[in-house]
Structures are given as C-alpha cells and as structure tokens.
Amino acid sequence: MWIARRRLVEDLARWRSAGWVTAEGEAHIRQDLLERRSGASLPTVLGILGVVLLGFAAMSFVAANWQDMPRLVRLAIIFAGLAGAYAAAAGLFARGMENFAHAAILLGIAVFGAGIMLIAQMYHIEGHPPDAILVWAMGALGAGVLLRSNPALAAATALFGLWSGWETVAFSYYLSAPDNLVPIHWPLLPAAAALAAGFTLNRWWPGVHLVGALLSAWLVLQSHAVGGDTRHVIVALIGLAVTAGAIFVARANKTAAKTEAVVADWSAVLLGYGLITAYAALWTLQFIERPQTAQLILLAVLTIVLLLVIIFQGLSLGFRGAVWLGYVGFSIEIFSLYVKTVGSLLGSSLFFLVAGLIVIALAALAWRLHRAEGDVTWDEEHRHV
C-alpha cells in the first residue's frame, strides 16, 4: 500500500510534466492521498500486538488478586494506566503517529475493561456478567466514535457481539414458560447502528462489513434461541427477502436512466449478507434438523436453485462477490449432501441425481457466462459515463 502510494506520487510528477495532469489537479490528488488512511504496516501490526499483550498483562494483574497490595493502590494503578494510555495517544497524535495513537486508545479500552473486572473482584460482585461486558462495550464505542478510532470500534463490535450472544444463549431462555419462547435480543440493533455510524464517519469500509457480520450472526443466533419448528424457516425467509430486495433494487438501478454507483454497491453488499443468512438457515434445516428424506430433497433442490439464481444474477449485475458466495455455497451444499446421504440405500442414488443436476447446471452456467460477458462490458462503460 505504502509502496503503491509512493509510486503514484512519482507517477504524478511525471504525468504533470507530460501535461496530462494540471498542477492544481496534482495538488488535489496529493491532498486526497494524505487524507486517506494508510493500510496496515508491519510497525502498526506489531504495535497492536504489543497493546494486546499489555491488555492481557493488565487483566492478569487483576486475576492475581494480590492481597499484599492495598486495594487503593490497585485502583490507583488502574486509573494511572487509563490516564497513561490516553496521554500516550495524545502525544502520538501530536507527533503525527496516527496508527500508534490508535493502538494507545485500544490499550486505554483494555485497561478500562480490566478496571471493571478489578472492581467486581474487590467487592465480590458476581451479578450478571453481560452487564459488565455492556459497560465495557459502551466505553469502547464512545472512544471509537469520539476519537474516530477504528481499532476501538472493532473492539466495541466484538464486545457487543459477546454481550448479545451471552444474553441470548445463557440468560434468556424461558425455561419454565409453557410456550418455551425466548425474547429476541433487540438491544443489539441500536448498538449495531451506532457502530455502523461510527465506521461510516471514519470511512472505514471493512468495519461496516464487521457490523454486517455481527448482524448476520445475531440473526442466526436468535433463530437458535427461539423455540418452535418455524425458527429456521423464518431466518431463511428474512435472508431470502433481503436477497430478493437487493436483486430487485440492483436491477431497477441498472435499467434506470442514470445508474447510481452507490445503489449498485450497497445492493451488492445486502445481497451478500442476505444470501449468507438464508443459506445458514437452509443448511441448518437440511443437515442439523434431521428432516425426512422427501423434505431433504425438496430443501436441497430449493437451495441449489437459489444458489444458481444468485450466481446468474451476480454475473449479469457484475457483482463478483455474489458469484463467489454462490460458488462457495454450492460447494458446501454438494459436499454436505454427499456426507449426509452416502452410505444409505437411497444415499448413492440421491447423490448421483444431484451430481447429474450439477453437471447440467454448470453447462447452463457456462453458456450464461459467455453471454454475460457482454453485459459486464456494457455495465462498465455505462458506469463511467
């Protein structure tokens, strides 16, 4: 990344002397390059790893529960660590060492978490452990948004996921309610919105994907927690609805007079998360829930059709990610079907039937692929007008 940037700066000077780029244009491009955040470099990675080690040092310090040290002194060490980490961040920002400054913020968040644990230990608080995680996550979210720190927001995403998962899995079962229902853990949604807003403000695209992954995992987990036979069907339908909506929007956008790149890209992303969610539910229905053979065949055919539709749509819309997700899902589906059915009397026959369908589908795919190439070229030209 860094080398590519330096190369670009050298090229810029050459392009300007050749008269391809105006002096003003060069200044703008240089400014834009400066504004863009640099990618991970070796020193940054080492800095983050060092901070992770220091964070674990703080937590081990708490775990040791060293009674020889008065509690006031232990508390003072935590407060000093907090002040030190954020002061170091300020110093590093002042020197222009942005990445190291963000590592220091991450350390501050780790010390904050260690402080919560220390206080719980000092006062023998057992309480409700997810509450402590929630306080920690809020601290990380606040730091991430206010200080525009992506590592802090990523830590907050992980902590909110831990919090919601813990609440859902360990504490929310209606163990003695006759209807055996679990309340959906809605409070994750505002947290996810805040995280996505923070990442958007920082213009850090992988972070938004992280929130998407968090939401997909949340949705699938809710379906496992909620009782009743319809749970996976509901998740599959939600995933399918998101996928279908994304395809509809993408097609409408493509055929519109003016194609919006933003709409195309967002619908590509939504299509991907919708497909992952729908497939996770369909996979569970087929391979975890022990359906009857007829149901399994029906579900498998539906799944394969869905994946083929996604691959075709991905090709014609130029969504490379959707095509790859389709291929991966297809491979997992076929392998799972093989493992599930092999060895049974019906198994081999079902497997070869499916294999036959795959070959035919691949043939159709190859034919579409050939035709779709024209589409993609048209799409690219259209987009740059």
């Binding site: 508390l75 300020a90 000092m122 695209w205």
Partner: protein, 218 residues
C-alpha cells in the same frame, strides 16, 4: 487492485462524502485532544462511580447475616474465588406464580425466625409483590433456574442468584478456605440497599471474621 476493492472505495467515497458526515468528522478532528481527555475522564468516572456505589452500600446498607450452605465441593473453589450458596438460594417454586425465565429479576423478602436466622418468606416480580411493606429485608435476585409451575409443588424449586455468591480470594489460597467452609459453620455478612441490591461485606469462618479493610482507612 481488484475491481471489487475499487468498487468498494468508490462506494465509500460517494456514500461518506455527504456534507453532514464531512462536517461531523471535521468537528471531531478539531476537538481531538479535548475529546481524548473527555473519553479518559468518562471511563475513569464510570469506574469511580462503581467503586463509590459499592463503598456507600457497604457503609450504609442494612447488614444481615446469612448461613452459608455446604456446597458441592467440586463447585466450591474455582480459580480465584470461593462459590457460596445460601439457604435462600433455593426457594419453593410456589412462591411465584406463572412462568419464569432464566435471568429474570425477582425480589425476595426475608424475615427472621425465632432463632434469629433470616428466611425467605415471600417473593415477587416487584418489591411490592414480595410484600416490601410488611417489613423485613427485600433482596433483589436473578433467576438461575426454575422448573415448570405445574411440576410437583413440594419438591419444585427456584434457584436464585443474589450477586453475593462469589468470594474472591488471593491466587492459590482457595483450597484452605474451601476446607474451612466444609469443616465449620460459615456466616456471610451481607449489606442490603433499600432497592434490594446486596453486597458481600465479609465472612465469618470458624469464628474468625474475614473482612475487607476499608478503601480509605479512617
């Protein structure tokens, strides 16, 4: 660079260069150092608030003595804390009607019997349902496990956690305390706030009181 990452960058740029976002980012950048101080102070304030709340509760809460039950020895000592169970950790199921879910907050009213030991006499989903006006001490707890209400009433129980079930000990000393808990009578000194929050003040093990020294020695 691949087409996908080009596309992602183009998207990020067009979606995130909205004037409001740009302005918000500029404001945050301009106030970076005060905001750093604000984050540090807020996190420190959260920790200080937790400490102050507990100190206040230990100083001002009503103190009751609860008998510690012998616990399954496998569960007693785990890592750096001793697990404690009380007579009031298991309540008769019929104290609360209807379904209960794990983690649900309930209130349990305790009253002293003729021997002076505290027993659970009522429970409910609010302090009023537990009969807080009838005197005694109301403790807030969370349901750990509860059986179906229709199960045989005599043997059915609700298992409740009050947040006073862990006593943290220095690393490596848990085994000694475990042996003492099994060998002798152990009493827990619990401070209770008016909202039912309970805090473990200390233990009396074999007549010897184990208590934390105050944070600020007087």
């Amino acid at each position: 660079m691949s087409e996908a990452s080009n596309r992602a960058q183009a998207m990020t740029r067009s979606a995130t260069h909205h004037p409001v976002l740009v302005q918000a980012a500029a404001v945050l950048a301009r106030w970076r150092y005060p905001l750093l101080a604000l984050v540090a102070l807020s996190q420190a304030a959260v920790l200080a608030y937790m400490v102050a709340g507990r100190e206040w509760l230990l100083d001002n809460g009503r103190v009751i003595e609860l008998k510690v039950q012998p616990v399954d020895p496998r569960d007693l000592f785990r890592g750096d804390y001793v697990t404690l169970a009380y007579d009031i950790s298991q309540l008769p199921r019929q104290l609360i009607a209807g379904g209960l879910r794990r983690g649900e907050r309930i209130y349990v009213r305790l009253a002293q019997d003729e021997k002076g030991s505290w027993q659970a006499v009522a429970a409910g989903r609010t302090p009023a349902q537990a009969g807080s006006s009838a005197g005694g001490v109301v403790l807030m707890g969370h349901v750990r496990y509860a059986v179906q209400p229709m199960t045989d009433a005599a043997t059915a129980h609700i298992w409740v956690a009050y947040g006073i079930e862990k006593f943290f000990v220095p690393e490596g000393t848990g085994r000694e305390i475990e042996a003492e808990v099994r060998a002798s009578d152990v009493m827990a000194h619990v401070a209770v706030a008016s909202d039912g929050t309970a805090a473990l003040k200390g233990l009396t093990v074999a007549g010897e009181r184990i208590e934390m020294p105050p944070l600020f020695p007087k």
